[in-house]
Amino acid sequence: MIELKGLRKQFGEAVVLDGIDLTIKKGEIVVIIGPSGTGKSTLLRCVNFLEQPTAGEITVGDLTVDVNRARKADILELRRQTAFVFQNYALFANKTALENIAERLLVVDRWPKAKAHERAREILRRIGLEDKADAYPASMSGGQQQRVGIGRAMAAGAEVILFDEPTSSLDPEWVDEVLSLMKQLARERQTMLLVTHEMSFARDVADRVIFIDGGRIVEQGPPSEIFYHPRDPRTRDFLQKILATHQV
């Protein structure tokens, strides 16, 4: 379970997150949508402490952190419990696919090498890239790199995986393989919080869709409600614009 209470983030004077309250149950798949620049990425990054939030409380599993009193150890633990999948994959260029996945098990969780590599191989099987174990990111397609990115997040055994537009930098030909891996994770009831413009994915897979605008949650509910019966005019407006360019 993860819970955010009154999460705020300011960059200087600019308020980007204006008090976000959000509870996500174990196994829930939550999709965040909203206009560009409304703080969707910032929200995910705050949960993982890639950005230091300005105020609020973050609970992940058994760990509750008041963001202003977070010690180094709290932040590391929070990061252990929240895995991140980046828009541009962000794989370690000096490590093979296998090593990218094993890295945190070795270094952060201090597993013995044999055990970490065994686990990494198992994950490579699950993401369908066993044959790429020894390949470096530079020699993989975008789709394969992002699958390794997701594999790296899976290795963590984290409470929740945060996805920030995982398919947005992909050439169209690679989008489906990444989405289908994400669907597989959803079927396994991996808790996921994701930002995406893939509306059909959101409609088919999400348990809940959250519309954010101006750093606040404007409206949330099951996809059928948000997509087909949005109540707030801002949601309607946004969906009209996005559905004009993306097919559902």
Binding site: L50, E77, F86, A90, A93, R104, V107, A135, Y136
Partner: protein
Amino acid sequence: MGALDVDYMLGLVPVLLGYLPLTLQLASVGMVLALILACLFAVIRVLRIPVLNQFTIIFISFFRGTPLLVQLFLFYYGLPQLFSALTVIDGITATIMGLTMHFSAYMAESIRAAIVGVDRSQTEAALSIGMTNGQLMRRIILPQATRVALPTLMNYFIDMIKATSLAFTLGVTELMGATQKEASGSFLYFEAFIVAAVMYWIVVEMLSWLQGNLETRLNKAYSR
């Protein structure tokens, strides 16, 4: 044009070869110390550690902005005057100090650039999985930065080997100092210095060859 005294040149080869080890030692010790100092400076600059950062900026600016020969004289003649405990500082020590500081200033900048050049998103990825800053540096950033900086660092090493010849001005009898002495004894300046030049040249060529090999090896590393 008088004929070259080839016999003299051949006879000089074993004599001068005896001084080559000191030249290589000056350069190697200077290089190792300069590398350590340069890594330290680079990390200070990248992390912008207060006070140390400002100090490093001034240090680098000074040692890049003044001639190596002036720096060597400063250490050799200037330091003993400043600190009376150091009544004399020997030429070898002064040379190593000068080479270390001079080249660390240049090398710090290339190491810094290489560190900064590693894609920022990898830093975020490493932090996102709970790595500490130290782990991030050791396992992700430095291995990639080294690969980028290595050719430049090798160039500095080659420069440093040639720069050791300035040590003769501090009375150190390395390859250049020995050649100078031989030449002023025999008056066969051209013969003596061409032998020394060829020796430097061969050493540098060998290093360039090594550098080329290393680069091909490194370039292959992440691309398959």
